[in-house]
């Protein structure tokens, strides 16, 4: 009998960065880097655990935009080209460092070998189908995947138009069903942004549970008697789990967290920036903009600019120590907490998946060590998915969580400040117009139907919380501003053409190929009569 349970939840998400209009688009690299550094390393960890009969349990979100990128043929082809170029660079680096910088040579060889293995995994083993690769672990019962909103819309800012709120959730849940051919048990609220308006819609989609930030749960009413150590049930019957503070800090915190250890790889020293332009030119952006290549030779070393060469073995040893530390702390935490509870506690540990491998290079190794150590070195807790916990402990305290998010300061300031507040006027107007169109033309067919469906796509793409987040972060702001304007301008033109009955067929076909997400979307999801808040 275990004293408690731990649920690791990795939220994998990227906005829909697909630009067929250009051969080489900088922001598509976000996705290519994530495959190389995060998704494939995670899959390799799962594979190795499975091969060694480690009964691991992990929960993930694969958001609808990410699933759509993973399954897109153009993006698949472009990723292979990206990887081939990177392999070429890594081979040249082995030669260059062998001659001129021998202290980096072992690390250069490591990259060459990793990149070639990545190519083998992606192309030969997974046949370029990452969705299938993840689905395999769902089928084996090791991985539970949560559904999420269609384009990672910040749901509390969409509540002004319940039909649009419904569309974000419904299209997201339907995308999950299309890719995984099963019903979702859990639903990841983008940015953990909770507002009670979502409950009824989640219930209508058959969702059993969601996750909120710690204070979202513990500031709930009535006060949850177990804090964030067991779920609560909302008045609509949705189970809500709360993020655990202690374990979050250990992994997440920039200052106290494991990823900042001096033995780990330094993210901010990349040969894309460090090497001579003449040498690196053909491996960075075609416009000569320096970019991260993923080849980085230094360890964090210390707080200053002085950096020493990365030592892979020392970093792996540190990852093992940190995995042991994480396990030990969970044991202590569970022993302490379980004394005051009438059931074993569950520790909910959600993280951005891209932290693992991309920002924290050793993150996947840490995960690998953690599952292995937990299997053999302790008996206090077991890894579990939230669904499994609910099956064991279905009856929980009724409480209403408070409106909250996992963003800086815990509410919505990240997405609502002077850098990004201007977008909501336009997003709300577009939502209002989309509902107007859906109500006005309930039985459209032919090109009008195509135009209405495309208008739905453009609205959803404009609603991604990523654009407001990037505007706030201060880097790549122009891209986020332009994406917001692009989709809203496209939406408005569609709205006007549909209402004036002068639809430009060629343009619709162009948009269908360019913003091609959600191929089976049905604009009627925006009809007022059909959404659950109106029933």
């Amino acid at each position: 009998m275990y004293k408690g349970y731990v649920s690791l939840i990795l939220h994998a998400h990227l906005p829909y960065v697909r630009h067929p209009e250009y051969e080489n688009y900088l922001e598509e690299n976000w996705y290519y880097e994530a495959i190389t550094e995060c998704y494939i390393p995670l899959l390799n960890v799962f594979e190795s655990l499975k091969n060694d009969n480690i009964d691991f349990k992990i929960t993930m979100t694969l958001t609808p935009t990410l699933l759509s990128l993973m399954s897109d043929n153009l993006i698949k082809q472009r990723y292979l080209k990206y990887l081939e170029r990177l392999i070429d660079l890594s081979e040249r680096e082995v030669v260059r460092t062998g001659k001129y910088e021998p202290h980096f040579n072992p690390i250069a060889k490591m990259y060459e070998s990793r990149l070639k293995e990545t190519y083998y995994s992606y192309f030969d083993k997974y046949n370029c189908d990452l969705v299938k690769a993840f689905r395999k672990f769902m089928d084996s019962g090791n991985l539970e995947v949560l559904a999420s909103a269609a384009t990672h819309g910040l749901l509390p800012f969409i509540t002004l138009h319940p039909e649009a709120l419904y569309a974000q959730i419904k299209v997201g849940a339907d995308t999950y069903r299309r890719f995984f051919n099963r019903e979702p048990d859990g639903f990841w609220l983008p940015e953990c942004a909770y507002i009670s308006d979502v409950d009824k819609i989640l219930r209508n989609e058959g969702i059993k549970y969601t996750i909120v930030e710690t204070h979202g749960l513990i500031y709930g009413t009535p006060r949850p008697k177990h804090g964030s150590f067991s779920p609560i049930i909302t008045p609509e019957g949705i189970a809500v789990f709360g993020r655990d503070i202690e374990s979050s800090k250990q992994v997440w915190s920039a200052t106290e967290g494991y990823p900042g250890d001096f033995d780990y790889r330094e993210y901010y020293r990349d040969i894309g920036f460090d090497l001579d332009m003449d040498y690196i030119r053909s491996y960075i952006h075609s416009d000569g903009i320096r970019i991260n290549t993923g080849i980085k030779y230094f360890k964090i070393t210390g707080k200053g600019d002085y950096k020493e060469p990365y030592d892979r073995n020392a970093a792996l040893e540190k990852a093992a120590i940190h995995a042991g530390n994480f396990m030990f702390n969970r044991e202590l935490q569970i022993k302490y907490v379980s004394g005051g509870m009438d059931r074993p506690p569950i520790i909910i540990c959600p993280y951005d998946a891209e932290l693992f491998g991309h920002w924290w290079f050793e993150g996947p190794d840490w995960l690998n060590f953690l599952f292995r150590k937990a299997e053999y070195d302790q008996q206090t807790f077991k890894f579990i998915t939230p669904s499994e916990y609910l099956e064991m402990y279905p009856e929980n305290q009724v409480s209403s969580p408070t409106t909250s998010s996992w963003g800086n300061k815990g509410y919505f300031e990240v997405w609502l400040n002077q850098t990004n507040d201007w977008i909501y006027r336009h997003l709300h107007k577009a939502a209002e117009r989309m509902i107007e169109l859906a109500n006005l033309y309930p039985y459209a067919d032919g090109i009008k139907r195509d135009a209405l469906n495309q208008a739905s796509r453009e609205l959803l793409l404009a609603q991604s919380s990523d654009w407001a987040f990037i505007m706030d972060s201060g880097t790549m702001v122009e891209y986020a501003v332009n994406r917001t304007k692009l989709h809203l301008n496209r939406f408005t033109r569609l709205y006007e053409e549909i209402k004036d009955d002068r639809i430009d067929t060629d343009w619709i076909r162009f948009l269908q190929q360019t913003d091609n997400i959600f191929p089976d979307i049905d604009y009627s999801v925006y009809q007022s009569a059909t959404h659950p808040l109106c029933l």
Partner: protein, 161 residues
């Protein structure tokens, strides 16, 4: 992304409306616009030039059952980050004009929002429940009742046509 498709969005949409968003337990954000039609109507109703009046917000606090006004000194201001200063407060705003006699004329009213909690609740009641059983019965019955059309599939119906 081409420049035409990423051109600036319109300043307004010809509506008269005010919308309210929650930022955190202490702050909300409002944006508004007033149509020319509404402005002309206001001018003829009150027999006054628009420019002789001043924009203002009325903050209606439903939790504490009170209200107050905020003068907006800039005619071109169309949004406001407002410190309401109290969590778990239900409120709405009205945008309007202050007449020379200091009375407020409301032109539009916002949605109602409730600011989030930022402390642990004093309510410690314990009720227990389980996850809804939507999947296992509601969904099935939803589907059946949607398909259900009385009479169509009853054996006798074909003879009645």
């Amino acid at each position: 992304m081409n420049k035409y498709e990423t051109r600036d969005l319109p300043h307004s949409y010809g509506d008269t409306k005010i919308a309210l968003l929650i930022r955190d337990p202490l702050w909300v954000f409002a944006y508004w616009e007033v149509s020319d039609y509404k402005k002309h109507g206001f001018e003829s109703n009150f027999r006054i030039e628009w420019s002789e009046t001043n924009p203002a917000l009325k903050v209606v606090n439903l939790t504490e059952n009170n209200f107050y006004y905020i003068n907006i000194f800039d005619e071109f201001t169309d949004n406001w980050h407002l410190e309401v200063g109290s969590p778990k407060t239900t409120l709405f705003l009205e945008f309007g004009r202050i007449l020379p006699n200091n009375s407020f004329v409301s032109l539009c009213r916002s949605n109602t929002v409730t600011t989030p909690a930022n402390t642990i609740s004093e309510d410690s009641h314990e009720y227990f429940s389980i996850v809804h059983k939507k999947r296992f019965d509601d969904i099935i019955y939803d589907r059946i009742t949607k398909e259900l059309q009385y009479g169509i599939s009853t054996p006798g119906s074909r003879f009645l046509k």
